[in-house]
Assembly symmetry: C2
Homo-oligomer: 415 residues x 2
């Protein structure tokens, strides 16, 4: 019989220690989000291929695990040379959320504050610490057009991360419309903006001069490039956006955007712990094309990449439900958090009292029952009590149990 | 753009109320199993097709969701007319457990007491309340050959179910070897036993005379059929197996099996709550072919079907790791439990205090911050505080929030 011991390529297995940590992290996050009134939902792993390939998913659409049709539908599809896959595994929780909302809208409160935690799948090139199945952990507010959404998402997510022990969090905030106004001010043509933003998004890797080189070698004019880069001189700072652009009335042609952004910035700063820094970051891009307004990200000083990211995507749901529904969300990079907790030594000691009884194989049934009764009584008091057969290699067995946190180990022999 | 609002056929969506219940049930079960020292693991949803089709899964192997190869491997497979799927979604947690154990054996304690809770997928015909994705909730003890395993699995699972409020649980216990001895005693040929057991398994639906008719019409002799059915006269009872077969020395030719079974029966009865009934049930079959010894099931009086089932499968792991590893497991029918909790009115009231602030759209930023600060302070005390925009249809909004358990709702207007 063919049998393969290792997991499928790029797929993770969680050992008991890892599961303990993951359960703890999920519980902490869920507890914080629940206290804000977020309602948890779950959508199936399998989605219609039509929904997954509707161009909302960007690059992720290339990474879909597709599911083969079965039985008659497969035969029919083969015979007619039609698509042999009608379904795929979800690559994020946003597409399924939008479908869920469209399907259940009339039964849901408005605004709908929703939380999701679950696995998603992407057939990405596996790397150390990056798997093809991973947990996403999102909160979204649907139907709240005001900046109450942004302010709350930022403080709730910052609080969730702080509850895990992360300190000195840095919240970066920007607005897609500010990004656009800056690029247009520099003289880049409207249709080039997506490409410009892809380059700008690499600023933290490229650096200032690297970005300059990239823009020039991509064929943009010296003039526009200089004008554009001149706008990024004084960052990062905690300036408000209206102060940052005080000398650029052209960029601030719609002052409402900047007023809004500044309220979000200062309210978030006031609402988070004093050591949290909330800053306006005009280089912040966020990859997904569906963002329409505010975008934000949380990072840890000295750590590359972000631990959470999100923003406003007011036009996405309308495409599916034929009525405008404001939307804003924040997603915690769950797997990244797990790695960082380990790296930063923030894993709590799970120290519930643990005791073990190791029973000799010849122990009388009555004694077995007595010991199990005793174990049951002790479990009621919150203790973990292990009852098992005593192995011949008792030294090894004791070491294993000690490694699992068992401090008291009793061997039991027949009278 | 094509967009499909409903979930993929047969796939479940969990609404906030359902998720609250599911989280509660998982927590209760996990808490009990943890207190016995079960270690939680998680395996990926996607498994090697070779492992899924190794004949361990019985009928489930026909229900696999297969995943299409991608890119070059797909092209190659098509060109060479080879299999276009190398992976599938797991249909249970036992196959992945065995793979996990084979892959990690040297790092795992012996015995390995393990708990798993996670979704599995089967392309079964969808029915009311039966979905193609559902949670399984298993505990297994690997490497414990003695009846300590059976006794503990039965009391732990009974306790987990009792912690959810289920009363009058009925634990039925049998042994595959007893089933075999009975059928051979009746004169059925060895090779017919699997078919006989498939019929016996339907006893609760067929009834005594229905089973008789089925056996006869399947061509078995009147003599064997009568002899066989004569063995099932006095059930269900709480007799021990050795008492039940006291007049049948031929059936009890290996008395060790019956001694073992009786210790399990009486120890389990002593260890569970007095209103739990532990009975020897010689009609209990359990579908899966991999069981080798004790089998057990928990049911609720008056409810068709079981809420948990399991048994000993000592020979399965050896096929994969090339050394004998004793194994015994118990699986709770998670989705069935959820339905029964609802039917029996056992859903606890989730009554944490909940308050809401509904802010007028013209509220000054300073007031917004003040209210959010106040909300944050109250959340620390364990309250759930919802802050959101005040809708024009305030009556509807209040009704929605009251429906979600918000008892205090304050509207806030500008000064």
């Amino acid at each position: 019989m063919t049998f393969i011991k290792t997991p499928v390529r790029g797929m993770p297995e969680q050992t008991p220690g890892e599961m303990e940590l993951r359960n703890y992290v999920m519980n902490q996050i869920r507890t914080v989000y629940r206290s804000y009134g977020y309602l948890q939902i779950e959508t199936p792993a399998i989605e219609h291929i039509e929904n997954l390939t509707g161009d909302q998913g960007g690059e992720n659409e290339k990474l879909i695990f597709r599911i083969l049709k079965r039985g008659e539908s497969l035969e029919k599809a083969m015979a007619r040379n039609e698509a042999i896959c009608a379904e795929g595994l979800r690559y994020d929780l946003t597409v399924p959320l939008v479908r869920f909302y469209a399907n259940n809208m009339s039964d849901l409160p408005l605004p709908f504050k929703v939380m999701q935690m679950g696995p998603v799948w992407r057939a990405d090139r596996p790397q150390r610490g990056r798997y093809r199945q991973f947990i996403q952990c999102d909160i979204d507010i649907l139907g709240e057009p005001s900046l109450l959404a942004e302010i709350e998402l930022i403080s709730a997510t910052t609080e969730a991360l702080a509850s895990l022990g992360f300190e000195d969090l840095e919240v970066k905030v920007n607005d897609r419309r500010v990004l656009r106004a800056m690029a247009l001010y520099a003289g880049f043509p409207e249709e080039e903006l997506p490409d410009i933003f892809i380059l700008l998004d690499k600023m933290d890797r490229l650096g200032f001069t690297g970005l300059r080189d990239e823009l020039l070698s991509a064929g943009y004019s010296q003039d526009s490039t200089d004008k554009y880069l001149g706008l990024f001189k004084e960052l990062p700072s905690n300036t408000l956006s209206s102060e940052y652009f005080a000398n650029y009335p052209d960029i601030m042609s719609d002052p409402e955007i900047f007023r809004n952004l500044d309220i979000i910035l200062s309210a978030s700063q006031q609402l988070t712990d004093p050591e949290v820094k909330v800053i306006f970051d005009p280089t912040l891009v966020r990859g997904m094309g569906y963002y329409t307004g505010t975008i934000f990200e949380i990072s840890l000083p000295g750590m590359a990449g972000s631990v959470a990211g999100g923003g406003r995507y007011d036009q996405m749901i309308e495409k599916f439900v034929n009525q405008p529904v404001a939307a804003c969300g924040f997603s915690i990079g769950f797997e990244r958090i797990i790695v960082l907790l380990e790296e930063q030594g923030l894993i709590p000691a799970f120290t519930d009292p643990r005791s073990a009884y190791l029973l000799d194989k010849d122990l009388e049934p009555d004694r077995i029952v007595k010991i199990m009764e005793d174990a049951a009584r002790r479990r009621v008091n919150g203790e973990t009590i292990f009852v098992g057969g005593r192995r011949r290699n008792i030294r090894r067995q004791k070491e294993e149990l000690e490694g699992l946190g068992y401090t008291q180990i009793d061997e039991v022999f027949p009278d």
